[in-house]
Amino acid sequence: MYIKLPNGIIDSLRRRLLIFNIATLIAFILGLYYAILNSPPDYLQGDSMRIMYVHVPAAWLALSSYSFLALSCIAWFIFRNPIFNLFAKSIAPIGALFTLIALVTGSIWGKPTWGTWWAWDARLTSMLILFFLYVAYIMTWQTIANKDLAAKISAALGIIGFINIPIIKFSVDWWNTLHQPATISKLSAPSIHISMLTPLMLMTFAYILFLVTVFLMRYKIETLDQKILRVSK
């Protein structure tokens, strides 16, 4: 089975890259406005809670990006179409960035809230592992000389690392951790007030736009890299 490269779709999206850039900027400005100025402070934590609006969407998208990466790797294993490697390579640095943002902002948030910059509990440790998985995925492509072998190893890495995602997701349910349990899930109405939900959703939307914009840029770069590799042989 050979899936056709959706280069047509991606090219048409890329032509509108300027629109994406502007939309992302607007979304972030709007989201941050709501987050910083137009939402109430927490009754316990005060204004330090506002960092949640940066931390939570980053963490959500870090997990989603890895899921996308793992799915691309599985698809590559099944169909052996190089486009799936391009997808995975494009999303990896974005996911790594989001994980890093989540870790750093989480650490900054943790200091006033829990009194410590870091704790070795399940969720934090598994997020750290997620970061290293992203780094390892990126480095596989850069260090292994034989590109076929690099493809296989990185795909295996992506798939095996997927086991980390449920661990992260459910770690706050399974173990008694420092990190708070999930407030927003798909199955029930969120137990969070609308005045806090709005900036959260806005910021999430802004992050998603950012992801798509950068993904489109990176995809083009990865395709060009691939072409250079082929021509130089």
Binding site: I129, F132, V135, A136, M139, T140, Q142, T143, I144, A145, N146, D148, L149, I153
Partner: protein, 209 residues
């Protein structure tokens, strides 16, 4: 017969290369010597840390000597020579594993009792530690060698190897620190053996081209 020849070849190489043979053992001793300076001279509390430090120094000494398994032979052409003798690749890989384990871990095992004396660890505990090291260290050697085979041609692979290998060592270290887990470690080593054999022969076949 060729099995013993290849192993003796690697052991001779390790033995001739000046003091490489003693590297692993001296690594352990140096780390253990530094401990009193770090923690003060209250020796009785070291027994808990003792096991941990032994396993950490095993992990580090394997990591630091990984070049000797495949990379140095690959770079000067000896790997070519060995592969061209038409021995099955699995045999060559097994011999490399075994000789690397002997060169690295046997000196450490020999040093453990002496180190135990330095830290007033009683004989029963030392025996447990030695059994655990015997069971678990082959697995660590196998994994290290396999990852080394994967990154054979590349120049900047050091950090990458470390990032991949250290997480794979975590189960060994966790169970190694636990007293009664000799069988678990043996099981882990066997799994590591199968994984490493498969991966290394596959890599060597690719790099042979």
């Amino acid at each position: 017969m060729q099995f013993y020849n290849l192993i003796s070849r690697d052991l001779k190489l390790a033995f001739y290369s000046n003091t490489n043979f003693l590297f692993a053992a001296s690594f352990l001793i140096l780390i253990l010597i530094l401990i009193p300076f770090v923690f003060g001279t209250n020796i009785s509390e070291f027994s808990i840390l003792f096991t941990g430090f032994i396993w950490i120094s095993i992990a580090l000494s394997i990591l630091l000597t990984l070049d000797r398994v495949f990379t140095s032979d690959y770079e000067d052409g000896n790997l070519d020579t060995i592969i061209l003798t038409q021995q099955p690749l699995e045999l060559i890989v097994c011999c490399k594993f075994i000789s690397h384990w002997i060169a690295n871990c046997i000196p450490i095992i020999m040093v453990i009792p002496i180190a135990g004396l330095l830290f007033e660890v009683n004989m029963q505990d030392i025996l447990n530690i030695i059994i655990n090291v015997f069971a678990g260290s082959p697995g660590m050697v196998f994994i290290g060698a396999a990852i080394s085979a994967l990154t054979l041609g590349s120049k900047r692979a050091d950090i990458y190897k470390t990032i991949i290998i250290i997480p794979l060592y975590i189960p060994f270290i966790i169970f190694g620190a636990n007293q009664e887990s000799g069988l678990v470690l043996l099981g882990l080593s066997l799994i590591a053996f199968i994984f490493s054999l498969f991966t290394s022969t596959y890599s060597l076949r690719l790099y042979a081209e």
